[in-house]
Subunit: 93 residues, 2 copies
């Protein structure tokens, strides 16, 4: 089930997410892990993917696909707000 | 020259970058515009691309490709630092 291998990046410490992705590939032997984030956490999600790819699982995983999107909704003040999202698909080489 | 149509997102106001991308497509009649950013500005670059795609040039441009990468260098304290980068390629439909 591909949907199981999703790591959603938020405000926890950076290394939590790196460890989580690495463990999906190693302990859980996943072929694919999708790193997702919204809004300001998008930069952090890219950092997570890069650190996994270039340091922890160097030459073992690569970026297969990256999708960006955005959702519009009303905030508490009734104002239209747009929030961007990212999905970074990492795969075993 | 494709390299001319690059918008580098940094700490200027958000709409500066949106306007800049829109003008590349309209006034300058570019077929492709690449939105680039580093580090914490990656989230802002995704926002810029999304606002151009979904609001200002709705149904006129789409995301063709997204690349992420990172560079490692020593900061002032001699410590190794990694900075992630993103390149979002927008094209006319």
């Amino acid at each position: 089930m591909a949907n199981d291998n999703v790591v959603f990046v938020g405000n926890k410490p950076f290394m939590n997410y790196v460890t989580s992705v690495v463990m999906q590939f190693t302990t859980k032997n996943a072929d694919t892990v999708v790193v997702k984030a919204r809004g300001k956490f998008i930069s952090k999600a890219v950092d997570v993917a890069e650190v996994v790819k270039k340091r922890f699982l160097e030459n073992q995983v690569e970026v297969k696909d990256i999708k960006i999107d955005s959702e519009e909704f009303k905030n508490q003040d009734g104002k239209d707000v747009r929030v961007s999202t990212i999905e970074i698909e990492l795969v075993k080489k």
